[in-house]
């Protein structure tokens, strides 16, 4: 067989590369900032395995994507050699504490994470003692930023999301009674349930039944049978996606057709994937929409999907936003842990896939919640 000439191979290679160059993302020009040439490591603590891995894997994937984007120039750290060092906390409190010890002593400029609010309560105080700034990306329970003067979060807290969710749904659905089902052994779901209770009471809604469950439960038939008997106008879910999808599906099995709503924990495409048509119509108060038209969001979603074969969820988006925030701080010349806390305090605005974000005096993120409704295969804005 005749071997192809070298120029023919070169031409074939060029032809193959041209379409990739046309359709691929064009790297942004990397600027030379005050930290150019410096090596900056940021420690990331995420539950890549264990019970919270469903959230932590998305977070790890987002940081790995950010590392790729730093190399390709899509994420600009001003010429600094910035990298995100992701370590698995394995959904284990003691592992979280170990990793906080590690990142507060290994020269990391900043710590991002951990995945869960309960873990933040264990780990953040270690960073506070070591005067290392922490930015939570999915810690939404009350009181997290109060753990220390350099504890921030880019995740909208339930206290920020739930009031808007209650106000909007009440205006549209005009309900008078509600039942609440929430997880009482998880900082996020407990906070969610408590805040929904308070906000519903403020809105003049009568709570006709309150049921609790434990994270990891799979059978909600007994609680839902009781809720059904109480005939509420709306059912509130203080739950994470894994439990929420089963509650929604089992409610449909029991013939419950009542409106349902929840907070950040329900902002996952897994809900529809699991519960199918039963999930359509469920309202979700959240911090991010996959369809949000903020700068770079569509590109982030596209690249994430291309790299991992799945869509990013809110946990992935918030992690990527923290990576964008970190890159901006480094680009502005903040390369050490001593500089990071002050830089976060002085931050005016950062452009992220969550939209433009800043921090309020209590170090909570300032951003607008989005009220979404589950539709076939995804989410739409709730009107």
């Amino acid at each position: 067989m005749k071997r192809p000439a070298p120029y023919a191979l070169a031409l074939a290679l060029a032809c193959a590369l041209i379409p990739a160059a046309v359709v691929g993302p064009s790297p942004a020009a990397t600027t030379k900032g005050p930290a150019a040439g410096k090596t900056v490591k940021i420690g990331v603590i995420a539950d890549v395995t264990g019970s919270a891995a469903v959230y932590g894997v998305q977070q790890k994937d987002a940081y790995d994507l950010a590392n790729d984007d730093l190399k390709s120039g899509l994420l600009d750290a001003g010429g600094a050699n910035l990298s995100f060092d992701v370590e698995d906390s394995a959904s284990d409190g003691s592992q979280v504490a170990n990793l906080f010890q590690k990142f507060t002593t290994d020269g990391s400029a900043l710590i991002l994470g951990p995945t869960l609010s309960g873990e933040a309560r264990k780990g953040d105080p270690i960073a506070v003692l070591a005067k290392t700034a922490v930015v939570g990306t999915s810690t939404t329970a009350d009181g997290i930023t109060a753990l220390g003067p350099c504890v921030y979060r880019v995740s909208l807290s339930e206290a920020q999301v739930v009031p808007a969710t209650v106000a909007r749904t009440k205006a549209v659905w005009k309900y008078k009674t509600a039942a609440i089902i929430y997880g009482d052994d998880n900082a996020f779901t407990k906070t969610d349930g408590d805040i929904f209770k308070t906000q519903l009471a403020k809105a003049g809604v009568t709570i006709v039944d309150t049921e609790t469950f434990h994270v990891g439960d799979k059978d909600f038939a007994a609680s839902l049978t009781k809720i059904k008997a109480a005939k509420p106008d709306v059912i509130v879910l203080g739950a994470l996606a894994e439990e929420a999808e089963k509650i929604i599906q089992q409610a449909a099995t029991l013939g419950i057709k009542t409106h349902m709503m929840g907070g950040n924990g329900l902002n996952s495409t897994k809900i529809y994937d699991y519960a199918g048509p039963a999930a359509v119509g469920v309202v979700v108060g959240a911090a991010w929409s996959i369809n949000g038209n903020y700068t770079g969001n569509a590109s982030f979603v596209q690249r994430f999907k291309k790299k991992y074969g799945v869509e990013p969820d809110q946990f992935g988006a918030q992690a990527y936003a923290a990576a964008q925030l970190s890159a901006q701080l480094v680009k502005d010349g903040k390369a050490s842990k001593d500089e990071m806390c002050a830089a976060l305090h002085d931050l005016r605005v950062a452009q992220t896939v969550l939209g433009p974000i800043a921090f309020d005096p209590s170090r909570d993120v300032k951003a607008a919640p989005v009220i979404l409704q589950i539709v076939k295969g995804g989410f739409a804005y709730f009107h």
Binding site: V48, T49, G50, S51, A53, V54, G56, V57, D184, E211, T212, F213, H214, G216, D217, K218, D219, A221, A222, S223, T225, K226, K228, A229, E242, K246, Q249, T253, L254, G255, K270, D273, Y274, G276
Partner: protein
Amino acid sequence: MVAQQLVNGLFLGAVYALFAIGYTLVFGVLDILNLAHAAIFMLAAFATWSLIGAGVPLALAAPIAIGGAGLLGIVLDRIAFAPLRRRGAPNLIPLISSIGMAIIFGAIARGIYGPDERQFTLGFLQAPPLHAGPLTFTIVQLVILANAIVFMLGLAWVMRSTALGRAIRAVAEDRIAAALLGIDLERTIAATFFIASALGGLAGILTALQYNSVQVDMGAQIELKGLAVIVLGGMGSITGAVIGGFVIGMVETLAVVFGLSEWRDAISYGVMFLILILRPTGLFGKRTLRTA
């Protein structure tokens, strides 16, 4: 509402009972807790999910996975228990060894399937619920209950009316005496592990189908419930495991009925403690004589 709740408790209890039988069988024969039982429960569910994904119908995938779970039980015994048994290790050692195997099985499953929940794409899981008067239930729940009853009755028949059952009971009663009577100890123990693990696998498959959810951590909760069930029913008693399973399922459901959902697990264990105070060997446990 109460009738529906009793049905809810019945379905819940059926799976608890099926899972706990495996625990109690091994305990009855070897006087040890096999804490890798929940990992086999999980692996059988994943095996079924994989086979269905490869185009194998459920009616074939489930028996293959159940058989695989049984064989894995034998492998487990050969690796984690038999060497220790030969060396006369105290009972705590095989317990730790089984925990180690559970961790290894979990790590393998996590490496293959990742942490995400997997779902079946079976049409009958999406079938509309059935109604009988005030009661609502699904076809899957009926399949689960029917399977649980058939397999529990089947096991009762094996234990009572077959040579294998008699051998298992003899070994459970007195291992040395059974050996002197010519019973092959190792084969009987292997058969016990096969049956126990196959039933654990069946429970895993049924649980996965009921909630349409397969996950690496799916055995974590039922593992503790299974322990409560066998303690309540009497360690080593198959009847006790069955009754205990239904008691725990009903107690959990009734705790919710009485507005105590946040105390559900505490109440289940509270009932267990109460029964143990009244009957320290559990509902169907045998009294043991302490010798000097």
